[in-house]
Symmetry: C3
Subunit: 304 residues, 3 copies
């Protein structure tokens, strides 16, 4: 692997290799000195065209714990404002002998576009491109599922929420299929379900009570504020009433179902506080494993 | 000590221990290689809900000189804007295996609130909460006083300015009392004096000439611009006329009185340039010792 | 050298020493571990009063590859907003035991002003002051020219564009003269040519076809957007028509003429894409050498 762009483009062995490598990095977090020298002297650029403290922070932490030097470039305040194209930005950073780019961009395909023009030996990690993919988030979700459930083969997984705009969901679906999950359901109001989503190999539900029945894993999606104000949804309150994950609804899933969410949570919108903070929630483990998974991906791309 | 929240909650031995430890760190600043490995592999987060380049910078420098990795999180551009609560922000950062939080927040009690919910083994340093406390600033002031004056027992100290809104002043008063200062005076116009301030063990003056008489230490407070524009003060010019520290007024203090200010200075508002830059001013020493004092507190919380 | 403020103030031996030192640093960029310990334990502050991701980034990278600790201070969000003067900002940072300042400021002479007040042992690098100078950019240009052309003695150099507002051009002209370039031409519309520019030892042209004839080096200047909207220029399109560097015009220069630009490029304004991306362009090499040249200057100021 030179780049890490989507979960879709990787086969089962590659996904498993990432999960296995991440296992070895979880121990670093618990050490007194949380640093390994694997990327010492390497320069990693966080190139963020969309604001995201959370994702940027986990990549920065992962890079620092690998002993890399990290540059944060928030493109609102950079030369792109002066009209420089994405490609010119890339060429200039390349010339500075950057080893790895972590890119988040509002356009689907931005990360892949970079890889078509980048010099050999430089790696690109997609940290979210438009509505297309967010593969490191999906891999930390897979890691969390495997940690809790062991195997994928017998799992029924439900993804609940704004499937239409979610790059996370697309990456999750591809990873879950490749890893052999038994059944993948998507649950959303009709306005937030992409047409032809069944082509991805999932079963669509517009009713959460039916969709959630007997599932082993529930992945909630974040409802973006701007969706709630638009025409796609009646109101935040109505959404919670119809699709929010409450205790009563969680009780319809398998008894040991795990509850996931990429964060940040909208309490009382897509999930109740009782569920988010409850015993079946692994939301904070997801954050925690996110560091190890990103360390694994960075380290593997760097040739370790 | 697991946390460092106020000067009020510490006894004399604890305050002295901080000052003594800071002494040992002053030598690091003068070295060719200004780094000690005490916090290597630790991750420290500057979690600032109020903008402050100065305080954030001194904490960042102190952490880097202890060899820690530092993350700056400016919360205006983070998930809190998306509606995430302070507690969710904490839980998420905790999950990333942060070792220490430096928090500045506009609400009094924010730092203490975090400590009530934080996991064992993680430390919180209060870098200013509302009008409540700013204990690291107070400790660097104590350090500066001890460096210049030796002992606290015989000292008359005057704190001059906007006592009403000053979190620094509260922390200074508690520290000075615990360290045994002979007399603590506060000097301010009536509109900027908290009612019942005498309960803290200080004597209040509304006349600077009388208040400053024979004192050994003069601590000027910064007058926030927004106060000058409000109803509490007639005008900036009038304030300087009545309460500004000029050479003539300084001459009323003890001959070897030292002049302090937490910065940044409003020249010609609360202090004249002649005094701020004069021989009795230790304002820049305060900045300098601020690094050593913060290194000491961080190092002690980390168990060294 | 304690400071690096202008190319004008340095003699030929000093300029050559910088170029020679930079040669030794170009190899660091190609290493697996791109770090040398020359500035370990030193603290360098990027003190930027004008936004500039590109220049700030190259200084930050150069400093990190020398193993220094770097603080970025963007003065829009700092105490200067609270009314603190440049000198007070300097004094405060000095008190924090900073070893080196990289300053960019909108006022000509700001960097030199600092050096008049700074403590011995602290260095200042001018990263651009008003319309006055941008000497590290000029030195990386000289480095690039020497790398490609070998010697300066036989070179005809043309600088094309907004000479009136360009601090880069002034620094380039001084460096080229000191290094013994055979001929220096400046090419611009009359409204963008400083009066008396010939006093700097250059020949002025208002026609690019004549000015570019037989030159060995073409240095394009960036046309700031705000100039295009002002009264000095008819339109962006008109400027390109009259002064843009196209293939046809490039063909009038020497057959092996090299094309330079400080970036970011305005494609189709001051330069055509065919030329910017063409074989004679060394624009990306300039960026690359910029790291080595800045490492050289920092290292020399630090006494290595």
């Amino acid at each position: 692997m030179q780049h890490f762009l989507t979960t879709e483009s990787l086969d089962r062995d590659q996904l498993i290799a990432i999960l296995d490598t991440a296992e070895s990095f979880t121990s670093v977090d618990g050490r007194n000195i949380k640093k390994v020298p694997l990327l010492r002297g390497k320069t990693i650029v966080n190139l963020f065209f969309e604001a995201s403290t959370r994702t940027r922070t986990t990549f920065e932490l992962a890079a620092k714990r690998l002993s890399a030097d990290v540059l944060n470039i928030n493109v609102n305040s950079s030369a792109t404002v002066k009209g420089e194209s994405l490609l010119d930005t890339l060429r200039n950073l390349e010339a500075m002998h950057i080893d790895m780019f972590i890119i988040r961009h509002h356009n689907s395909g931005a990360a892949e576009f970079l890889t078509q023009h980048i010099s050999p030996g430089i790696s690109v990690i997609n940290a979210g491109d438009g509505r297309h993919a967010h593969p490191t988030q999906a891999m930390l979700d897979m890691f969390t599922i495997r940690r809790v459930k062991g195997e994928f083969a017998n799992l029924r997984v439900a993804i609940v929420g704004d499937l239409l705009h979610s790059r996370v969901a697309r990456s999750q679906i591809h990873a879950l299929r490749t890893l052999g999950a038994k059944e993948i359901r998507v649950i959303a109001p009709r306005t937030l379900l992409p047409s032809h989503i069944e082509d991805l190999g999932v079963v669509a539900y517009q009713n959460i009570e039916r969709g959630i029945k007997n599932v082993d894993v529930i992945i909630m999606l974040r409802l973006q504020k701007e969706r709630m104000q638009g025409a796609l949804l009646p109101s935040q309150h109505e959404y919670y009433h119809l699709f929010g994950l409450t205790r009563d609804r969680l009780a319809m899933a398998a008894a040991d179902a795990m509850v996931m969410h990429p964060g940040p949570i909208n309490r009382g919108v897509e999930i109740s506080s009782a569920v988010a903070d409850g015993e079946q929630s692994v939301i904070l483990q997801q954050v925690s494993y996110g560091i190890a998974v990103r360390m694994a991906i960075m380290s593997m791309l760097a040739g370790n």
